[in-house]
């Protein structure tokens, strides 16, 4: 453990010291770490809310907290996890850190705007935190009108402002990524030589840039309504409460693709590296990311099948929703095909990738259930939907995020995490997750509605199973926190390329120097070419 050695060479971590050098940094790598710290805090805050919710749901009558408090807890859980954890997570941490490196650039196109993005997330988060500490907000993260504009007497305005500000963080990140990918690829790096991680972030950025402004203006209208009582969503003045739902879901459906596309990008990298094989169907997978981004804008009304919208609208949205399922299915098949005749190594990142593929498959298949009009009438607003999206967001996105963190941790910090503990926590997370959320499918079909503080006794057994799972899951999430922190001081030194991965980021030292590359590399081959990485290669398959 030669800690002196790591400081002989100048890298982005030791090139400057002090708080100012972090808070005023323009280095995309440091900004990625700033985001890492911020979203980790929000993850644990959102997790705390979830813990209290699951404990409360152990008994049908509640009793730990009042109904008012419970309603605030699920609202704040959703707001925190979606806007302050999931949406930034992979793009703002891993995307910021590795997008420039993967395309051979020294930084993003607009480093100062990158820093502003981080500050916007923090400021938005402070607004939301203020609302939570001052008494909380109880509208649900979807803040439907007229409850949110007229009837709720909680901190709606402060929370909405927090989300508004955080939205601009997302927009600016997306803008930065699009411009960077278009204008700063290294010589020889054509579009179809880019890693799939980059394609995934390009597609994500398209959604961030086109969708988030609609949420922003919807929030403006809700704020005007709440403050000035103007009548846009108030039926007594001629307003339409369902118009809010259209405007809200126009962003919030594409938003779920903001949360999953980067995860799919990570999984492509992991599956390729740990099979030592190019992703099967590279172009198809690349196009499928863009297809998901485009089609994702056409399906928002599937959240509104029982809202009173017309039967025709319901049919149109259901039909289109099945279209958007296909590109995701194609990815799963392509990843699986990549494994065939590969050289598969079972390190922790790959275990997370396996977990992702399995759990995303289940989550995605249950999406087919809710896309079916006749089924959705029964299961919408029940725990079935809650289970569906947690399979995708937690079983999918969060597992991919953890997989990516483990994969790129050596590059970011120069240290290895302890493999044994990492494998154990991956297993604990997988088991805990399934125990938490699988019973919720059954609960939902039985008719247990969402956002319920108290419930009929006959649902208790399933709730107890779910809470038991949540306690296991919590342990699973806590362990990496500990060993990642431990590894910073005591972890084994990581070399330049501990995984034998392809990709430009693995050709620089770990941790990388300030400007990533001393000279801009020239790219001469496709992504995922392992022939140059494996010394004295022996061909198989």
């Amino acid at each position: 453990m030669n800690t002196a050695a790591i400081h002989e060479r100048e890298d982005y971590l030791n090139v400057s010291h002090g708080l100012k050098s972090w808070l005023l940094t323009k280095d995309h790598k440091r900004i990625g770490l700033l985001y890492l710290a911020t979203i980790t805090l929000f993850f644990f805050l959102g997790g705390l809310f979830a813990t209290v919710i699951r404990i409360e749901l152990l008994t049908p009558g509640g009793g730990l907290v009042s109904s008012e408090t419970y309603n605030k807890l699920f609202t704040m859980h959703g707001v925190t996890m979606i806007f302050f954890f999931l949406i930034p997570s992979i793009p703002a941490v891993l995307g910021n850190f590795f997008l420039p490196m993967m395309i051979g650039a020294r930084d993003l196109a607009f480093p100062r705007i990158n820093l502003i993005s981080w500050y916007l997330l923090v400021i938005g988060g402070l607004f939301a935190l203020f609302a939570m500490l001052a008494g909380g907000v109880d509208t649900g993260w979807t803040f439907y009108t007229p409850y949110s504009t007229t009837y709720s007497n909680t901190w709606v305005i402060a929370t909405a402002l927090g989300i508004f500000v955080a939205g601009f963080s997302s927009i600016l990140t997306g803008l930065n990524f699009i411009v960077t990918i278009h204008t700063m690829r290294a010589p020889g790096l054509t579009w179809f030589r880019m890693p799939l991680f980059v394609w995934a972030h390009y597609a994500t950025s398209l959604i961030q840039v086109l969708g988030t402004p609609v949420l922003a203006v919807t929030i403006v209208l809700v704020l005007c309504e709440r403050v000035f009582h103007i009548g846009i969503f108030d039926p007594a003045l001629g307003g339409d409460p369902v118009l809010f739902q259209h405007l809200f879901w126009f962003y919030s459906h594409p938003a779920v693709y903001i949360m999953i596309l980067p995860a799919m990008g990570v999984v492509s990298e992991l599956v390729s590296t740990f099979s030592r094989k190019a992703i099967f169907g590279y172009r198809v997978v690349a196009f499928s990311s863009v297809a998901i981004a485009v089609l994702g804008f056409l399906v928002w009304g599937h959240h509104m099948f029982v809202s009173g919208q017309s039967v025709f609208a319901g049919m149109a949205f259901s039909f289109l929703s099945y279209f958007v399922a296909i590109p995701s299915a194609i990815k799963v098949f392509n990843w699986t095909a990549t494994l065939y005749k590969g050289s598969i190594s079972w390190e922790t990142p790959m275990l997370y990738a396996f977990g992702f593929i399995g759990l995303f498959t289940i989550g995605g298949l249950t999406g087919l259930f809710v896309a079916a009009l006749g089924i959705d009438v029964h299961v919408t607003d029940t725990y079935f939907v809650v289970a569906h999206f947690h399979y995708i967001m937690v079983g999918g996105a969060i597992m991919a995020y953890l997989g990516g963190l483990h994969y790129w941790w050596p590059k970011m910090t120069g240290r290895m995490y302890p493999e044994g503990w990492a494998k154990l926590s991956a297993l604990v997370i997988f088991l805990g997750f399934n125990l938490t959320f699988f019973p919720q499918f059954i609960l939902g079909y039985l008719g247990m509605p969402r956002r319920y503080h108290t419930y009929p006794e006959e649902f208790q057994v399933l709730h107890v199973l779910s809470t038991a799972g949540a306690s296991v899951l919590a342990v699973g999430y806590a362990i990496p926190m500990i060993y990642f922190a431990w590894s910073l001081k005591y972890g084994a030194m990581a070399g330049t390329n501990p995984w034998g991965a392809s990709g430009l980021e693995w050709k620089t030292p770990s941790p990388p120097p300030l400007h990533n590359f001393d000279t801009t590399p020239v790219v001469t081959h496709d992504a995922y070419d392992y022939s140059t990485v494996v010394g004295e290669a022996v061909e198989i398959g």
């Binding site: 319901g314 099945y322 494994l339 050289s343 039985l446 509605p449 995922y528």
Partner: protein, 316 residues
């Protein structure tokens, strides 16, 4: 409550239809989940790295395979869509002879009223085997009327009517839940649907409060509010006759037409300028604030009770 169930009871004609679609979806989901899980499991073991300098031969893709695993899933999803859409379509078409019940949701209770004037709070008594159509609205936030045993759900939206219908098939007592978050006591805004044998239902109806039927109360309200000063039955007043209006197609100023259903009548009472009948002026004042949602429902039933259209249309 008995031992916990894993599957909801089927108590309406929709329930088996919905459940059959569920079984199909489950079969597809289990098939593909197992296929993927088993493939991954098998490949991960079979192709596990045996030596450090192994280099698999690159396989960049196969169009045939891509087409296969795009087209087959797409075909399956189109079956799912069609099947689900047909159930939904049926759910939007109540039969003409359905029993009408009016529902008003408010924080945090359901108010239901039968045509005969019987009122219920958080409970609904209905006969087995007869189609029931609910016409619903809300007085405040959005609520949602959900009966898991029937597999039906529909939002109750303030400012307009929404409808849902079902035909119960099994006598019993079934949960009624509010399924759209509406504030503090959202989880307590529920109750029971009692499906009864037809004779028991008749007994229940006659035992209900005798405050007059909806139509009778509607007539009282109509007179109190002096609607008849303008809406003369022979059409000689300044406003259209309401006799035989319900269900008719109405010509509007500006050229459009509209069907005179419950929603149209409610809108005409509360927002009369929204649709003006052709040949008439925008002179009707709004009754927003002067009539409750229940009052509107009573007026609607009264108007429904006014006979068939007169032989000659009045000239104006």
């Amino acid at each position: 409550m008995g031992s916990p169930r894993l599957f909801p009871v089927q108590a309406s004609t929709f329930a088996p239809d919905v459940d059959h679609l569920l079984y199909f979806l489950l079969a597809v989901a289990v098939f593909f989940s197992l296929a993927i899980f088993c493939s991954i499991f098998y490949f991960a073991i079979r192709y596990r790295r045996r030596s450090e300098n192994e280099l698999p031969r690159a396989v960049h893709g196969g169009m045939a395979l891509e087409i296969l695993w795009s087209v087959i899933p797409f075909g399956l999803t189109m079956v799912m869509f069609t099947w689900g859409a047909s159930i939904y379509f049926n759910e939007s078409r109540p039969p003409d002879n359905a029993l009408d019940i009016y529902v008003v949701g408010k924080q945090w209770m359901w108010k239901l009223e039968h045509l005969g004037g019987q009122r219920e709070i958080n409970e609904l008594h209905i006969p087995v085997g007869r189609a029931v159509r609910l016409t619903m609205t809300s007085e405040d936030a959005i609520h949602s009327f959900f009966v898991p045993a029937f597999r039906t759900k529909q939002d109750a939206v303030p400012g307009r009517y929404t409808t849902t219908w079902f035909t119960p098939t099994k006598a019993g007592k079934y949960h009624l839940f509010c399924a759209e978050y509406c504030g503090t006591n959202h989880s307590r805004m529920g109750g029971w649907v009692y499906v009864m044998a037809p004779r028991d239902y008749e007994t229940w109806l006659s035992g209900g409060t005798s405050g007059g039927s909806l139509a009778e109360n509607g007539q009282k309200l109509f007179d109190e509010l002096a609607c008849g000063n303008c809406h003369k039955p022979d059409g000689s007043g300044r406003c259209p006759s309401l006799t035989g209006l319900f269900g008719k197609t109405v010509q509007l100023v500006g050229g459009g037409t509209v069907k005179a259903d419950e929603g149209y009548i409610r809108e005409s009472i509360l927002q009369p300028q929204a649709k003006i009948v052709s040949g008439y002026g925008p002179i009707m004042p709004t009754f927003q604030g002067l009539v409750t949602e229940e009052g509107v429902m009573q007026l609607i039933e009264y108007i429904k009770s006014l006979g068939p259209p007169p032989a000659a249309t009045p000239t104006h």
